[in-house]
């Protein structure tokens, strides 16, 4: 009984922290219509700042708390609203989602630069040494504090939103910002308050979390992702109900505590830890499927803009041919690590192409493409002893396609944000449960050998030939993606993205369309993975980090998510930047994340990326036939400008 009670205490305390961060998410979402993926990163920054002030500068705890929670966090929130969010007002839901991913990466990048050195940073507990015994269970003052804070926050927020006019206005702003202005409240002020409040709650969660991480000390990635777990709680609250979000947080904490506490004793400790890390992801996945998804609300209109012209068969053939020739020339000139970087870049370009199909055309945001990359490479490595065979390639593509459809299956009823969250949960579970599993990938950070794909009838393949081989695969995939886009299936995919409601009236099965898109896309990502791993000869958990999927997605969006050239450039950027950062001081370790983050926020709401910037469109003719024949006209001017004064 006592064990049960102590697990309960642990669960409730962890749940209280999840609840605080999740309530912050809900506050931001209900007031701005934007789901803030950077919530965890804000908590991380707050935790590190708190450590810096109390441990480096020896400030008193209360003063540090005031500075971090009442000055730094709201200021950051106001800044993010002012610099990033206001620019994308009226943009599509995916775009605002990507901008918050960008903010996440920027924060991680900056934190790496500031606190990246391998210093052990331990935040001492609040009220160290004080504890009480409740029903025979020892409860520290810190645990009590966490729970009390969470309850007070929950009640306070509810009171504010229900009984104060400014609180009601925060709920009203998502409904109709223009009407809110007519009711005498400036919508942007309300949104800014939403960001500030959300950031304060994220910061609070981070500071409460900081002393509980134990002897391993503060870690940028873990802190950022730990708070990600709060997402599940927010989903239980259907992104709008604060009481249910609170319940969701506590439930998640308890599930985590009981599951790890009551595992049979013979399971090794390392595995227990792994299970503990998977549970939030599984919880999120289940919550997404079980909780009826609330109608997603997004401020703004459906953006209407001219997509890039889709290349015809001849153009795409010529484009791909030119690419292969260009790569052949480069393969002669380049050498050593440069060769490998470019080869891997083109291979990642194939993964990026899978996003062009799925996200660019189909509007389905996937945050787990690297999982398919990893699974593809793993399959290749396992088939015929180390892989390298065409059978391995087929197996890899097939297994990834099947896995992709499997992920799509539960995700079919999910759209937009929820789908993105589901793929994130899947990616997280696979990362911790599969790629970090030492019995599958032997040893610490273990890797599996992946052979290169030899040309038929030959043994082995050189670096240069391999590069050309990868370019040929990319060209073939690009031709395939463009052909798919021109086909009836492509039109269905785009129609489904444009207006799901209208699509449903056409008598076409959206389920089949979505599943095919997911399957093809995952298969293609698997192919990219096989080639990517072949260049370096192995695959390990390090290659499939969660952030990597986000970074690649952002790079494709930055270059142009509806163009095959954008995919190629994105793949190259995703390998060239990290290889550059190895020549820089360690503070720049997250260079590609920083660039991705800054790029996406600088791009604002230009929906077609760098390649879609009118100035560039008019002057640059890219291979692969993605050039645009049409100038964006002002016919839909309202969508880009919006009525003056609404949020200006």
């Amino acid at each position: 009984m006592e064990t049960f009670l102590s697990f309960t205490v642990i669960g409730i305390v962890a749940g209280a922290i999840y609840a605080v961060t999740a309530m912050g998410l809900v506050v931001t979402y209900t007031t701005t219509g934007v789901f803030n993926f950077a919530q965890g990163a804000v908590g991380m920054v707050a935790a590190f700042s708190y450590w810096e002030l109390t441990q480096s500068y020896h400030w008193p705890v209360v003063l540090a708390l005031v500075v971090v929670l009442l000055v730094e966090a709201p200021l950051l929130g106001a800044l993010v609203e002012f610099i990033f969010m206001r620019r994308i007002y009226g943009a599509s839901a995916d775009r605002s989602l990507m901008v918050t991913l960008g903010v996440l990466l920027i924060m991680v990048g900056v934190a790496t630069a500031v606190w990246g050195q391998q210093t052990l940073r331990i935040v001492p507990p609040f009220f160290e040494g004080h504890e009480v015994t409740i029903f025979g269970v020892v409860v520290t003052y810190q645990q009590l504090l966490i729970v009390i804070v969470a309850v007070v926050i929950a009640l306070g927020l509810r009171l504010y939103f229900m009984n104060f006019r400014s609180g009601v206005a925060m709920r009203a702003v998502v409904d109709d910002p223009e009407l809110l202005a007519l009711a005498g409240v400036a919508p942007y002020r309300v949104s800014r308050r939403g960001w500030m409040l959300g950031f304060m709650l994220a910061g609070l969660a981070g500071v409460l979390l900081a002393p509980t991480v134990g002897s391993t000390g503060l870690n940028i990635d873990t802190l950022t992702l730990l708070v990600v777990n709060g997402y599940a709680a927010a989903v239980v609250g259907r992104l709008r109900s604060l009481p249910w979000t609170f319940v969701g947080g506590i439930a998640l904490g308890l599930a985590d505590a009981y599951a790890t506490g009551y595992l049979p004793g013979h399971i090794p400790a390392a595995l227990v830890e792994q299970i503990a890390t998977i549970i939030p992801a599984v919880f999120l996945f289940v919550a997404l499927l079980v909780v009826p998804s609330a109608r997603l609300r997004a401020i703004g209109r459906i953006p209407v803009h001219l997509p890039p012209k889709v290349a015809n068969a001849r153009q795409s053939l010529v484009g791909s041919g030119l690419l292969v020739v260009a790569v052949a020339v480069i393969s002669v000139v380049a050498a050593g690590s440069t060769l490998a970087t470019i080869s891997q870049g083109i291979a990642l370009g194939i993964v990026a192409l899978s996003l062009v199909l799925l996200t660019g055309y189909g509007g389905q945001v996937s945050l787990c493409q690297y999982t398919f990359l990893g699974v593809g490479a793993f399959t290749m490595g396992k088939v015929a002893g180390g892989g390298g065979s065409w059978l391995g390639l087929l197996a890899a593509v097939g297994i990834c396609a099947a896995l992709g459809m499997l992920v799509a299956l539960p995700a079919l009823r999910l759209r937009g944000l929820y789908l993105a969250l589901a793929t994130l949960a899947f990616g997280e579970a696979m990362y911790y449960g599969f790629f970090s599993n030492s019995s599958i990938f032997p040893g610490y950070g273990g890797s599996i050998t992946v052979g290169r794909l030899a040309l038929p009838g030959t043994q082995g393949i050189g670096d240069r030939t391999e590069m050309i081989e990868i370019a040929v695969f990319f060209g073939a995939c690009a031709i395939g993606v463009l052909a798919l886009r021109r086909s009836a299936f492509g039109r269905r995919l785009v129609a489904m993205n444009d207006s799901p409601a209208a699509f449903a009236t056409l008598g076409i099965d959206a389920t089949v369309t979505k599943m095919i898109a997911f399957g093809v896309s995952a298969g293609m990502a698997g192919l990219g993975g096989v080639l990517y791993a072949g260049v370096q000869g192995s695959i390990s958990a390090n290659d499939v980090e969660l952030f990597a999927s986000l970074i690649l997605l952002l790079f494709v969006s930055i270059w142009g998510i509806r163009t095959t050239a954008g995919a190629l450039l994105a793949g190259l950027t995703a390998t060239i930047l990290p290889s550059l950062s190895t020549h820089l001081p360690p503070a720049w370790a997250q260079l590609s994340g920083l660039v991705a983050g800054l790029g996406i926020v600088l791009l604002g709401r230009s929906p077609e990326g760098v390649l879609g910037v009118p100035w560039l469109r008019a002057r640059v003719r890219l291979p692969l036939g993605d050039r645009d024949a049409l100038e964006p006209s002002g016919a839909f001017g309202q969508t880009s400008e919006g009525p003056v004064g609404v949020l200006s």
Binding site: V168, A172, L182, A183, V185, A186, Q638
Partner: protein, 241 residues
Amino acid sequence: MRATILTTAPAVRFEGVRASYGRIEALYGVDLEVPAGSIFAVLGPNGAGKSTLLKVASGQLRPTAGTLKIEGLSVRRVSPEAFARSGVCAIPEGRGVFPNLSVRDNLSMWTYQGTGRPEAEERAYTRFPRLKERRRQLAGTLSGGEQQMLAIARALVGSPRLLLLDEISMGLAPMVVGELYELVAHIAADGVTVIVVEQFVSTAVRVADHAAILLHGRVHQQGSPDEMAEAALGAYLSSEG
């Protein structure tokens, strides 16, 4: 003090007002004078620029040329929320309420001119008892007529000087429309200037003091409501009989 302003200058005056959405022009130089304390009906077919005219008058859309004068003062670079706080009450077409807020919360949003919440509810419920029954219900789940009552309750809760109504009869039963316009007349009798925009002529004209027909972003004709009702038949309603 308000009375003196009202008697010395027209409540709203458009002088050569042009307005556009991006590159699409909607108003090509509108000249119109709305006398203080009157009900002014703006008639016209779809796309004539009627709603745009109200957006300009409520500060939601800034004119690209020309001047807007409210109570004799030239207004420029003023945000819509400032318009609202100074007594311009604009009720947009078809969506004058916050659908995901309860009736009570909607009413509390209407208290921006300093009316207390209980007072606001009192005023609204006295006029529309049906809203009281539904006070906990989400506004989006009310019937069209009830939503329009809730929207117009804004004029009762605050103390508007200028009321701008965009197609309040849209999609409503004739009985309800009659009821709403009766209220509009009542509000105007207290000295509030009202501009009503309607595509269909009958009801608006019955309560209006003046009317104008807008066609293709310009004032086509103006005069007494009856004359305009007649003229509208020739100008744009002819084919519908």
